[in-house]
Subunit: 314 residues, 2 copies
């Protein structure tokens, strides 16, 4: 039955998938100033990434603070992004703890012109595999664009099994799976496992920016990148080298950012990326929604130092 559905899946969507789920996907921040979204800053980040040649824009991902926003706020971010994206496809995060709210976000995302959806199994009560599978079924039944499965156990509290990946990938609308970073040195082995398990049409994408070079070289099709939301040109150099198989150059470009990766691991990528954007003058400070604080002054000094050492000053 899945094969039949697949053959009915519009060719246009398959073509779009080819564009969207390869290469570099940038995840811009959604800056919050005085408890309101700074839509001008959203448009600036989006047009900066589009101008740098990213393949797609992941709006309202974890980096886009989707979990903290109301329905109206989420729709406003998508409208601003689609406007500023200059035709670069927008992938819209639609996750929420309740299916009813996920479906409302799906409707809004499609109405605003998003080309695909990103769905993480956000939870309050821990979810079972059966519940997560049903959630994806409900969302694919209610939408007409391709969907990225977002596996981020740190924020969702849910850990996908490989068997669940395979069952989800059988649903025609599931176009890509965003996996957590493999341990250093393990990306090739992990990609072999996943490719043996998943249909060829399923794009495997890497999250965890420090693991991107290794994982793209090992066969990931797309880098779902936090840093590309703020430093798209810098991320694109890594992605282009890695996807062209220029291993030495990809490693060199990624290794150059080691001070940033080390701060990501220590403070989390959201707080560090926000501090980088604030330091570079792209956003007002603070830019995160309470109760989240930006980095403390010690963390900000380290961010400033990392920016200098990596040569990232604007």
């Amino acid at each position: 039955m899945f094969m039949l559905l697949l053959s009915l899946w519009p060719a246009r969507s398959r073509m779009k998938e080819g564009l969207m789920f390869d290469g570099l996907c940038a995840f811009p921040l959604t800056p919050i100033v005085d408890d309101r979204i700074d839509l001008k800053a959203v448009a600036l980040l989006v047009s900066r990434a589009a101008g740098a040649g990213v393949n797609s824009l992941g709006m309202l991902g974890s980096t886009g603070n989707y979990a903290y926003l109301s329905r109206d706020e989420r729709r406003a971010v998508l409208e601003a992004a689609v406007d500023a994206a200059e035709g670069v496809p927008v992938i819209a995060g639609v996750g929420a703890v309740r299916t009813r709210d996920v479906l409302a976000h799906v409707e809004d995302a499609q109405a605003t012109g998003a080309s695909a959806l990103l769905l993480a199994p956000v939870s309050y009560q821990r979810l079972t595999e059966a519940e997560v599978f049903s959630l994806y079924q409900d969302v694919t039944a209610a939408s007409s664009v391709p969907i990225v499965v977002c596996d981020n156990p740190r924020t969702t509290g849910f850990t996908f099994s490989d068997e669940l990946y395979a069952r989800l990938a059988d649903i025609p609308a599931i176009a890509s799976i965003k996996i957590p970073p493999p341990r250093p040195g393990q990306a090739s082995a992990r990609l072999r496992e996943l490719r043996a398990l998943l249909p060829e049409r399923t794009s495997v994408g890497i999250s965890g920016d420090w693991a991107a070079a290794e994982s793209l070289l090992a066969g990931c099709a797309v880098w779902y990148s936090v840093i590309a939301g703020v430093l798209p040109g810098t991320a694109k150099v890594i992605a282009d080298h890695a996807l062209a198989g220029r291993g030495d150059l990809a490693w060199e470009a990624s290794t150059n950012l080691r001070p940033v990766w080390s701060l990501f691991r220590r403070y989390g990528s959201l707080r560090v990326t926000a501090a980088i954007a604030e330091h570079l003058g792209l956003l007002s400070s603070p830019s995160l929604p309470l109760p989240l604080h930006g980095l403390d002054s010690e963390g900000r000094l380290k961010v400033a130092d990392a920016i200098r050492r990596c040569g990232l000053e604007a």
Copy 2:
């Protein structure tokens, strides 16, 4: 400064605290039927618990599905509960991932007549201790009723340190701390640690129903009870024996429910309690908000069996 604030804290609130943060606090379910709250069932559960003589009602706790409800839905549950509570104090859960939303819930809870607030540091991005402390400061500054700190790492993803407990307990409005269950046999040692750390006025309450008898006997002042939302009379027997120091009888009454405790550990207390209430005809089935499923048929058979073995048929 804290002592000064404490002395200004209204005597009326301290008196209420004395009533509310001792004894048995029942956490009723918020049943969802066809994606809408069944307010009649809420009122039924509340009046059943009030009639059984519980000391307080914990509305919109984890068992009350607060994390899945809109602002309007949460307000409607509180209105129905205060109406049906026959003067038993209502403690209202106000947690949300964004401080702005928490403060809106605080405003609504006070407007509907809730006597106290229950606040868990619900998270999407993991929170730091500084962020959690600031959240409680912001909420206590915005409210005029006592507050229960809810420590539930499984659902919030945040683990309190004892040092943070102590800092929070210094805030005059923080009246009680709802702790996770100590390991079997460890309740006395844990209570000694906490009592050495916390002011005398801070009520320590136990969650994790299977640990209630031991923890009340060890000195917990209040049992924040899931099962009391559905079987208040049964829970009250355990609480009354334990709080009167009748150890053998408290153990016997709690041990009688071992088949239920064992299902709580296997499936989580929410899904099991909902299945018990459905089995007893107190609610329509299914009663949980999607993506949550009720128990599968194997789980429901086990629940029916446990109800029979424990003699809980209505």
